[in-house]
């Protein structure tokens, strides 16, 4: 909400006493945004996801690449709420041990009910991680018996190498959430600059940039990204470089559409009286573009950015799922689903599908947030 100076607040109070209600543009947008209930829920979920991503290593009980060799493809650990006599108890788990059925060769995990490991919160002594700039060993929860011994607690089961899926989903959210904003950080300035120049100057520059846009729009998105991913993978780059490569690739193929829309907007605004006035007052081109034209497209840009993010997340997920996106040891939700490519594996270990739920919820939340923003930036429309 826009902060008002004391003088303005006083003026507003006087107006309201006389029966008038005055609202600034920011206040109206905020009110319209608040009216969109689903959009509000979406925004809260998005914020929650970012908080969880920041504290991933703290909320997750283990280091995300720690391999529990004896617990490969362990199902989610059952948390017990009742004692043996049926009365309510503090939540506890049992240690599990792998058993192989010698006739079917099916792996099952059997609980060892001799000792109870209670779920405790804010436990220190776990794996080291960085928390708000400090190195810490404290984790949100762990399962420990009264004598201090620890049992494995896999909230969402483990993968093939016995790594905790819960921690991996949380850590993976960092990449999945970062992809969209990082792509926008590159593609938007590019699109705004090229679209702005194209619309403002016109002529030969406009002609050239527009042809470039058409080429970009003629490139088939997913297939070319797959080929770029194969190239990145083939060069044997580090996981971090591949991550930046994927972001760069996504940015390169996505600025064309934005540049066209910005061009159209600039073309229309350029002819408006206030631009002519600014020019008559002697403002130079850069000032006109930055101070007079860009503010008029800001609301559109904010909405476009919010609605671009979920699309980028979906593309990254699909690429990583196919093996042409994020590479080990980095991880993202799509990359985690890479283990679920065949139905046989899903049948035996259905919990490896869970990262997909993270994608759906996050993308849905982003979409609703963007939808609410789109309705809100035009506060004069009748809702």
């Amino acid at each position: 909400m826009a902060r008002l100076s004391r003088k303005k607040q006083k003026a507003q109070r006087q107006m309201e006493e006389q029966g008038y209600i005055s609202r600034s543009q920011g206040q109206m947008i905020w009110q319209a945004f608040r009216r969109h209930r689903v959009g509000n829920v979406g925004t809260i979920i998005v914020l929650l996801f970012f908080v969880v991503a920041i504290f991933a290593q703290f909320i997750g009980p283990y280091h995300y690449s720690r391999q529990f060799r004896k617990h490969s493809f362990s199902p989610p650990t059952t948390v017990h709420w009742r004692d043996d006599d049926g009365s309510l108890s503090r939540p506890y788990v049992y240690a599990t041990e792998r058993k192989i059925d010698l006739t079917t060769y099916r792996v099952t995990y059997v609980e060892d009910t001799s000792k109870k490991y209670y779920v405790r919160f804010f436990v220190s002594g776990g794996s080291e991680h960085r928390l708000l700039g400090f190195t810490a060993t404290v984790h949100l929860f762990a399962a420990r018996a009264d004598d201090g011994s620890e049992a494995e607690l896999f909230v969402l089961g483990t993968d093939r190498l016995g790594r905790d899926m819960f921690t991996r989903c949380l850590v993976g959210s960092w990449v999945s959430l970062a992809v969209g904003p990082l792509v926008i950080l590159i593609s938007f300035p590019l699109g705004i600059l090229l679209g702005g120049v194209s619309g403002y100057y016109g002529g030969g520059v406009d002609m050239f940039i527009q042809r470039a846009c058409e080429v970009m729009l003629a490139i088939p998105g997913l297939p070319i990204l797959m080929a770029m991913g194969a190239a990145l993978r083939g060069f044997g780059l580090s996981a971090m470089m591949v991550f930046f490569g994927v972001i760069l690739a996504l940015a390169i193929i996505s600025w064309g559409g934005l540049a066209r829309i910005i061009r159209g907007q600039v073309l229309a605004i350029r002819e408006m009286d206030f631009v002519t006035a600014a020019r008559a007052a002697g403002a130079h081109d850069l000032r006109i573009v930055l101070r007079h034209i860009i503010p008029n497209v800001t609301s559109y840009l904010v909405v476009a950015a919010t609605l671009t993010i979920p699309g980028m997340m979906l593309t990254e997920a699909a690429l990583s799922f196919l093996g042409y996106g994020i590479q080990e040891p980095m991880t993202s939700w799509g990359q985690l689903l890479n283990a679920a490519t065949n139905v046989g594996s899903i049948e035996l270990h259905p919990w490896i599908l869970i990262p997909g739920a993270f994608i759906v919820v996050a993308v849905l939340a982003f979409n609703f947030m963007g939808d609410a923003l789109r309705d809100a930036v035009d506060p004069y429309s009748i809702m």
């Binding site: 729009l217 997913l222 297939p223 770029m228 194969a230 083939g234 139905v343 599908l353």
Partner: protein
């Protein structure tokens, strides 16, 4: 109008040319020399290899290679040989009616999307802000937010593991049971294809539904607030006549014009679905070629997708010109 069509069609050529240059360079910077690998393959004789080298100038500089490749495509329609299948690229990319299946899946999904999205959009607009409107919108967004590949996996898991359709003699992946391949068209075959196609339609179709529903809803709401609709109501016409005969007819125009634009999204959206559900599409050929670093097929595949994209845009332009007489063609 005719000159407009011809000019727009011809304009595709330079675009395709640039896309071909981009995909060619991308494939050529890929590490791993195909000649070395082809030499290691005992199935490819030195003679065949030499013929390929001569024809495509594979021992020459990059730009010469591109020129040879382009010349071969333009003069002979020859995209080269697939190093993986040892067949011409075209046969590899389109083997076993893959082109037909790709087009069929895209068009049928498009048809079903519109078949459902238009009535849902009308319903949503005429029941604005009612609970049913919110529910419809929510499901639209859900379809938009589920990644195609995850939805396909989920459907596969539900059918195979949860409902165990295999016990009823039903198979899931592919476009029909193995025994129907190459047999003449019978009712049994059609039913079988329909059984295999519904998950495909569901997975690919839902991802574009939300946009269409929103567009239809928004347009209809705009139209319903216009004075001529008020006049129609004032004349005492029934509400159904006002909505369907007066408002919907005008509100539907933008949907017709974006029809062509959804075609390419359907094709690239179907790539991932095709890989999981094992559909015989060009997307699957492309993925396999990429996996085996079959460079000629990958380049041809990229050109194919680009062509499909441009055709979609072209159709959209024609539709716009055809539906809206105010558009100038010159």
């Amino acid at each position: 109008m005719l000159t407009y069509i011809i000019r727009r069609t011809l304009y595709m050529l330079p675009l395709l040319l640039i896309v071909s240059l981009i995909s060619f360079s991308l494939i050529k910077i890929l590490p791993g020399d195909f000649l070395t690998r082809a030499r290691l393959n005992p199935q490819i004789t030195e003679e065949t290899l030499q013929r390929q080298i001569d024809r495509f100038g594979l021992d020459r500089p990059f730009i010469v290679q591109y020129w040879f490749w382009l010349k071969s495509i333009v003069t002979r329609g020859d995209f080269g040989m697939s190093f993986d299948t040892k067949m011409p690229v075209f046969k590899t990319l389109f083997m076993g009616n893959r082109l037909q299946w790709t087009v069929f899946i895209a068009l049928s999904t498009l048809f079903l999307q519109y078949l459902f999205a238009i009535p849902i959009g009308i319903y949503s607009a005429t029941h604005q802000y009612k609970p049913s409107d919110h529910i419809v919108t929510f499901f639209g967004f859900l379809g938009l937010s589920i990644p195609n590949f995850f939805f396909a996996l989920l459907v596969l898991w539900l059918l195979v593991v949860v409902f165990k359709v295999g016990n009823y003699g039903l198979s899931v992946a592919g476009v029909m049971d193995m025994r129907y391949y190459g047999t003449p068209l019978t009712w049994g075959k059609i039913v079988n294809v329909l059984w295999h196609m519904w998950p495909v339609w569901l997975v690919i179709g839902t991802s574009g539904m939300a946009g269409l529903i929103r567009l239809m809803r928004g347009n209809l709401l705009d139209t319903l607030s216009l004075p001529y609709v008020q006049t129609a109501r004032a004349k005492g016409l029934k509400e159904t006549v006002v909505v369907y005969k007066h408002a919907v007819r005008n509100a539907i125009n933008p949907l017709v014009t974006i029809l062509g634009l959804s075609l390419p999204t359907l094709v690239s959206g179907s790539i991932v679905t095709a890989i999981i559900l094992n559909l015989p599409t060009v997307g699957l050929s492309y993925f396999n070629a990429l996996q085996r670093q079959d460079e000629n097929v990958v380049m041809a595949g990229l050109l194919f997708f680009s062509l499909f994209l441009l055709l979609g845009n072209l159709i959209a332009d024609f539709m716009l010109a055809w539906v809206d007489p105010r558009i100038r063609y010159d």
